[in-house]
Each structure stands twice: as structure tokens, then as C-alpha cells.
Amino acid sequence: MLRNLIRLHSRTCYAVLERWPGVCQGGQARLPTLLENAKAYSTATSERKKFYQDVSISQGEDGMFEINLDRRKLKTPGGKIFTVPNEALAIAVATEWDSQKDTLKFYTMHLTTLCNTALDNPTHRDKDQMITAALKYLETDTICYRVEEPPGLVELQKNEWDPVLHWIEKRYNVVIGSSDSIMGPQIPEETKDTFRQHLGSYNFWALTGLEYVINQLKSVVLSFGLIDRHLTVEQAVLLSRLEEEYQIQRWGNVEWAHDYDMYELRARTAAGTLFVHLSSESSTVKRKLLQD
């Protein structure tokens, strides 16, 4: 119950963060006014008529990739030219724009949204602030909070969550632990320092994606499992929704609420994971090209 409330709360926060992508029209940048912004914030699920036919990508002089909609360059809501660091990400974003039918459904374009957030940085935060924000989730990590009843769920949480917890404790050589009190487990400072140091090696784009994944899964542990390729998206989402799945087994599945939520969560989590992997691998790809 508490978790659902938190999830609901943070969903709306994210809807507020998501802004629609602006596009350069007729060679002139279309800067959204304050009023337009307010409108964009309030209707995260808004749609817009499709105004282009062809989507293509091109590489700029600085090696960054751009998206072209009918020869016009895509721009971010902040008015910057939309650029991404590697081809794979550019193609994935172009595919999102290309797959829109008659209307642009921005709520299905998760990678575009993530790129916009990384490019514009609407909350004006630096890396340290993002790492702190991400690690704050560790204190209330989903898989560290256990229930005391009913016995079936207690058993399920123990069987499903403990292996992941043991994996991360071994992988990073840290102590996290779980608790069934409302205060949650006491996370030692050393654990946080280890993670802080590890996250310091990520670039700004990867951190944007990672924070998004943590926000979706409500768990630092599961997010690390996903980023380190210990879990698949389906597994991570299942573990994140464990209590809901238990209740579904007991009371039945409701397609327009449970399945709807699950697919949305899967899509968002997959987008975030892919975003982290693609934006942190660009350097290795370049090295390979040099060797050739």
C-alpha cells in the first residue's frame, strides 16, 4: 500500500519532468514560452499531429548524431539541437519518431524523453547531486522492506529478493541487509561510499538513465542488477512488482490496471537500461573503429 502510494507519487513527479520535444520549424527555432511550458507540464499524455514524412539521421562535424524530420533538425524543448553520442541511440530515437502514425504520442517515446532530459537538464543538477539523489533510494529500497504477514508473501519475498540482495552484496562487497520494521534497514556509510565511488565513473547521460531506472523500479539494488546484466528487464520488473503480483495471484488480474501498469513499467525500465548501456559504451565503440 505504502509502496503503491510512493509509486503513484513519483509517477506524477515524472510526468511533470517529461517535456515534449520541440522542433525547428521553417529554419527558426521554436522556443516554448512559459505558458506553453505550463501546458506541456500539465498534459504529459498530450498528442500532436504528425507533421513530417521521412526520418533520417546524420552525423555532425563533432561526431554527434542528429535526427532529421523532412530535412528539418529535431530540437529539444529547451531549443538545443537534438544530438546523441552514438549511432545506435540515434537509430533507436529515429525509429521512435518513424513509428508514430497520425499523431505523435510522446508518452510512447521514452528514449527521446531521456535524451531531452540529458540534453536540457531541466532541473539544473550536476553529477554529484544526481548521485546523491540516486543513492537516497537505497535507504528506502523496495527489496529491503519486508512484510511480516501474510505468510505466503513473506515466503515469496524471502525466496525472490534474497538471491538478488546476496548477489549485490557479493558483487560490490558491501552490507545492505533487509528489515521488516517501518524504519527500514540501517545502511552502513561504507556501503554508500562504495556505491558513490562506483557511480562516479558513469557519465552524465548514463546517470540520467540510471536515475530514471531507479525511479521506475523503486530500487537501487534491482537497477544495479539490470545495469550489470545480472537480471533481464522482465525479471527486474517482476521483482519490483512482487507484492502486486502476489495480490494478482490471489484476487485476479485486471487488464486495464495491472497489465497496463506492467507494460508501461517494462517499457520505461527497458528504455532507461538501454539508454545507460548505449550512452556508456560509445567510447569502446570508437576504440574498435580506430583499431580497424
Partner: protein
């Protein structure tokens, strides 16, 4: 490491999703050629543990999940949430119920 389905199945899955998005001319799309190209490049002849290949497989798996989940989500969205407010009869109809007809009221005229 989680068990992942074999690469060719993931590849086919992604291509199927691209086809569902793009329709019959999906073979001309950017993504189609890129995905095929990547799968061909990452093929290795021996069965030795190859980290790069595992990474590529995980990424392709994630991409398949992204495409499939977005499609499912959009279908459910259009079915249940995309049409604005509904009348009581229609709402009842979605879950396979009918509104009761009142005795002596509508439907009992004859």
C-alpha cells in the same frame, strides 16, 4: 547471469516488432538494416564465453522488451484509456456486464 533466449529468436522478435510498427515496407527502415547488421557482426564461431557478445545479447533483449512493451501498452491505452469518458453502459460492457433494467421502468413497457 540470467538465462536469455538465443540470439536468432531475439533478432526475429525485434524485426517482427519493427514490421508491426512500420507495415510492409519495414525492410527499408533504418532500424531493420542496423539490427540485422549488428546481429551479423556479433556472431562468433566458437562457443567460448564472450563478454561483448553477452553484452550485445542483453542489449538486444532489452530493446525487444522496449518495443514489445510499448506496443502492448499502447494497445491497452487505446482500448481502455484513450477514448475519454465513457457512458455507464459502455463501461459495464468492457468487463462483460450489462446494466440491470428496472422493473416497471425502461424495457418493461410491453
Amino acid at each position: 547471469m540470467a538465462a536469455l533466449s538465443p540470439p536468432f529468436r531475439v533478432c526475429r522478435g525485434i524485426l517482427r516488432e519493427i514490421r508491426a510498427m512500420k507495415g510492409p515496407e519495414y525492410k527499408q527502415s533504418l532500424a531493420y538494416n542496423y539490427v540485422l547488421d549488428q546481429f551479423r557482426k556479433n556472431q562468433v564461431s566458437s562457443e567460448r564465453y564472450c563478454r561483448a557478445q553477452v553484452e550485445a545479447l542483453h542489449a538486444s533483449h532489452t530493446y525487444l522488451c522496449l518495443l514489445a512493451s510499448t506496443r502492448h501498452h499502447l494497445t491497452l491505452h487505446n482500448l481502455y484509456h484513450g477514448k475519454g469518458e465513457r457512458g455507464p453502459e459502455e463501461v459495464a460492457g468492457i468487463v462483460g456486464l450489462r446494466l440491470p433494467t428496472q422493473p416497471g421502468g425502461k424495457g418493461w413497457e410491453k
